[in-house]
């Protein structure tokens, strides 16, 4: 790396500083060691920016190669045939599948995580709260491939009963219609993703709930509020923006999760109205499953779909961070 060579070149023999030099440094001109160190650390910061820019540039470059060869419409084609000449592929199915699986995951994970965060901060006996928070942290540390293996071999067989039940009583809605295939569909994927993003939403929400001013809660209690009313009137309004940004961080993870989806989902390249019938796919899952058999053009096409995923996660995460940053400014609770 060029930074390291720069250091060795720029490292001075460190002469004894004379009085005038010391006086100058006191006035603000920095010593050589300082300059090197500043250069190094600033260089690292710039390197991060360069990496981000490079990711965008190179992905766009390879994606543009692929899209120029695409004989379908990149946005609306319901096909992924990169081995044809000319290749025909489009991201419509992937976009749909990614959104659906993430929405299912969010619908399950957000309420449960908020409840667990409340449990840790407001409900749990103090002796239980610490271990629970620790266990949630452990959930976050489990590698996604292990979740994938567990999901595919343990969760999937256990879903059959639930699928049958949903089909029997809610099948008329169309959303829960089930033809009887293996339960490797968007609902199972969403449930598994929910389990995986639970820790991050819980942890951020927990931090926010901890910062609720004690005065607000005590004021509500003094007015005779029950514990639930305290939470509804004092805790949740204060933590709302924090919970929203936490959910969006979770959403960012759910959108980009690869292995857990790739192991559980049995993908087909079409759009299903039902959550229970196997079908669809997500950006990340499609890349992982199609990669090994893809040719040069096929890989470029996968990179193009990865670029779309990159932009989506960038927007979601940026929005989440913006909400957190805005909140920091006015709440003063982080001091």
């Amino acid at each position: 790396m060029d930074i390291s060579t720069q250091t060795t070149d720029a490292l001075p023999p460190s002469p004894e500083p004379t009085l005038t030099e010391q006086a100058r440094s006191a006035r603000g001109a920095s010593r050589p060691g300082d300059r090197v160190f500043l250069g190094l650390s600033r260089g690292s910061g710039i390197l991060l920016l360069v990496i981000m820019a490079a990711i965008a540039v190179f992905l766009t470059y390879r994606a543009s190669l692929a899209i120029s060869k695409d004989h379908g419409n990149f946005l609306t084609t319901f096909e992924w045939n990169t081995n044809l000449t000319p290749p025909v592929f489009g991201i419509a199915v992937l976009a749909f599948g990614t959104v659906v699986s993430s929405v299912v995951a969010m619908a399950i994970a957000v309420p449960v995580s908020v409840a667990i965060a409340l449990f840790i901060t407001h409900y749990a006996p103090r002796r239980l709260a610490g271990p629970v928070a620790y266990v949630i942290d452990l959930l976050a540390a489990v590698p996604s491939i292990v979740y994938g293996l567990w999901g595919a071999l343990i969760l999937v067989p256990h879903m059959t009963g639930l699928y049958g039940w949903l089909d029997k009583y809610l099948g008329w809605t169309g959303v829960f219609d089930w033809q009887g295939g293996a339960p490797r569909s968007m609902l199972t994927v969403g449930l598994l993703l929910a389990i995986m993003i639970l820790p991050i939403i819980t942890n951020v929400s927990r931090e926010v709930f901890r910062q609720v001013p004690q005065m607000h809660e005590e004021a509500a209690l003094a007015l005779g509020a029950t514990r639930w009313e305290v939470i509804r009137m004092a805790v949740l309004p204060f933590g709302r923006s924090g919970v929203i940004s936490a959910s969006m961080l979770g959403l960012g993870r759910a959108l980009g999760e690869t292995m857990a989806v790739a192991t559980v989902l049995s993908p087909t390249f079409d759009i299903q109205a039902s959550l229970l019938d196997p079908g669809g796919g997500t950006f990340a899952q499609n890349i992982a499953s199609k990669f090994s058999e893809a040719t040069q053009d096929g890989r470029d096409a996968l990179i193009a779909s990865g670029l779309v995923l990159f932009v989506i996660t960038l927007l979601v995460n940026g929005a989440a961070r913006a909400i957190i940053a805005r909140r920091k400014e006015y709440s003063g609770a982080n001091a």
Partner: protein, 353 residues
Amino acid sequence: MSTASLADKRANSLRGASLPKWSPWAIAAGSLVVAVGVGLAAGLDSKVQWGLIAAILFILGTFGIAARVEGRRQAKDRVATSLVWVAFLLAVIPLVSLIWVTVARGVKVLDVYFLTHSMGVVADSEPGGGIYAAIIGSLEQVGLATVIGAPVGILTAIYLVEYGRGRLAKAVTFFVDVMTGIPSIVAGLFILSLMLIFSMQPFGFAGSLALAILMMPVVVRSTEEMLKLVPNELREASLALGVPKWRTILKVVLPTSIGGITTGVMLAVARIAGETAPVLLLVFGNPFINNNPFEGAQASLPLYIYQQYSQSAGANAAYDRAWAASLTLIAFVMILNMVARGIARWKAPKTGR
């Protein structure tokens, strides 16, 4: 709670009637019994369904009984409490199941032979073989990623905390946040696009580069937090003695926060050790031992799990190997986590709070 029970004994006319303290347990037990009864009667064989019925009965029962005895507001409060408890129990189930299954199925084939041999020519459906090549690959890839990612991350954090003013620092902070959210597969695709341009074949170090990209923002974040905890008085005292700023950072700030920084780096290592997607794209997997991360496809522990699962077409021997490899990976990650947390507690800077 104690005041409530006191009030109960006194039959205070100012307080409304309240349920005894054991009532939630009683309702829970009752709804569980009814749920099992309903489940057996209706011939539902899934324990999950029993649990769901029990949970619904418990919440409805709590609301009904509390609403009659204590009033609607108290009833709502009780329902909220029970919902929160149910959510907590729901979250514990998958973790317990995951750990239990991984350990129970993993120990079947996990032994010294498994750890010291590679797949080689063992077919996916046959028993035998092991994860030696995968362990070597993982250690080398993660090690190289750490060598690149940790210094860059720590130096960036130093820049942000000690020097960072103005627009550059703001931009770096923002993009570090954004970078934390990059899907691992996108980092893999980035390196892949470079490899396509130079038409390179998969090799271990390419995976390290992608892992380093994923590691950097995590290290920056945690190191930043740790550096901010170092009291300003320490810096000022050192600077007042005429020590240059860079020596102040190296000799005062970093030693004070070294425990926390180590923790952050170890947690980041634990995170990237389990990444599969970039390794799948860039390192490709290899049943034979390849000790050179700079040339030729390598194996990797998370990738090994995925391949044993996906290429085996349901062979039990392959699933057993996948579980055993999962157990090894989880053990590695958990040990890293626990050691990291231990270091954090042991070396935590005293903040006076």
